[in-house]
């Protein structure tokens, strides 16, 4: 190895290796299901087509650096999320290795389908942070929240590189409004971020199918499907509410 491969302080922006996620020391409020004990899944492990989706909002006239945008974004991330996708950071907040729990409502009958899941902060530096999904999450992959300057304008961006985790989710994304909902969520987040700076920004979206092939060998991921498991857990939660536990 050459000397240029020596340790870089930026190496601390990465999460430490982990075999299974732990949700100890999480704030109350989230359902906290389908994350503890799970492994991580990346863009190579999911079932469905691999999509790269990029959402950007420009902040013209706002004197703010990319680092300032991301600092604010890390602090206010839950506030920017819509009601159908609530984020619950750990007490340490958005930092490498930390967990964000998610309670979401997916398109479906009777007002939608509840899913409890989460993500791990894979990487976090001054100008970006990336989350990685666990087993059972609707997606298998990465989502990066970042800010940069272009032509003297600060831009906030969300970019996902992910597949549907299993066949049930692939059907949901393709045929039951899942993709549209996902896009609406990130539009909402960037709109709220722009509003935070007093701007009614227009969100630009671009999508690219990086791999159109279905990974049939990953159909077994449905075993961990967080929607199914959250639904099966519903009687347990109802019982706890009934008996005050």
């Amino acid at each position: 190895m050459t000397s240029s491969n020596d340790s870089d302080p930026r190496d601390n922006a990465w999460a430490k290796p982990v075999d299974h996620l732990s949700t100890k020391d999480m704030p109350v409020g989230a359902l906290n299901l389908n994350v503890d004990g799970r492994g991580l899944t990346g863009p190579l492990q999911g079932f469905g087509q691999l999509w790269q989706k990029t959402y950007k909002v420009r902040l013209p006239g706002v004197q703010v650096s990319p680092a300032e945008v991301v600092t604010m974004w890390k602090a206010k991330l839950p506030e920017f999320m819509p009601d159908d996708s609530r984020f619950y950071p750990s007490f340490a907040g958005v930092a490498p290795g930390e967990i964000l729990l998610i309670d979401a409502t997916l398109p479906g009958p009777g007002g939608g389908i509840t899913v409890a899941t989460g993500v791990m902060i894979l990487y976090a530096d001054d100008e970006s942070f990336t989350v990685m999904t666990p087993d059972g999450h609707p997606e298998s992959g990465f989502n990066t929240f970042s800010s940069y300057e272009e032509d003297d304008v600060t831009i906030a961006q969300i970019q996902s590189l992910a597949r549907a985790n299993d066949p049930v989710y692939e059907i949901g994304f393709r045929f039951m409004g899942g993709s549209k909902q996902q896009e609406a969520i990130w539009h909402h987040v960037l709109t709220q971020l722009a509003t935070n700076y007093g701007i009614s920004g227009e969100v630009e979206t671009s999508k690219k199918c990086v791999d159109s092939k279905i990974q049939w060998s990953q159909a077994k991921n449905v075993w961990h499907n967080a929607v199914i498991r959250t639904t099966l857990n519903a009687p347990v939660r109802a019982g706890r509410r009934l008996f005050g536990r």
Partner: protein, 117 residues
């Protein structure tokens, strides 16, 4: 868009394998350079593309995303994507992101070429 802080040299290792030497940082801004390097490395006979990370200064999560995209392109061409020269930290990152399940990791070019055959 900020400029990439990276240069990439491409050379043939043998008739079936090419090497992309990375010098600098692999972040989102390295996309054009990396894809151009892959195009140069990949002719009709290339069966394996080796990315040499010995002189990597830094890679962030967007850089890992670029490698995923590159892997898909290589697989489409029925090519293996292999990496060499990773330090312990980046070997761990490849494990954490599960890229090691699809990209061969070797200490150096000689062992990589021997494995490709």
């Amino acid at each position: 868009m900020p400029t990439a802080n990276v240069t990439m040299n491409v050379r043939k290792a043998n008739e079936q394998a090419s090497v992309i030497e990375i010098h600098g940082e692999v972040t989102a801004f390295a996309e054009d350079a990396l894809m151009e390097a892959y195009t140069k490395a990949s002719d009709g006979k290339t069966k394996a593309v080796i990315i040499d990370f010995s002189d990597l200064q830094y890679m962030n999560s967007s850089g890992i995303g670029l490698l995923v995209t590159l892997l898909i392109r290589a697989n489409r061409q029925k090519q293996q994507l292999i990496v060499t020269g990773l330090n312990d930290h980046y070997r761990q990152i490849f494990q954490l992101t599960r890229l090691d399940e699809a990209i061969g990791i070797y200490d150096n070019e000689a062992t990589a070429l021997a494995a490709v055959g």
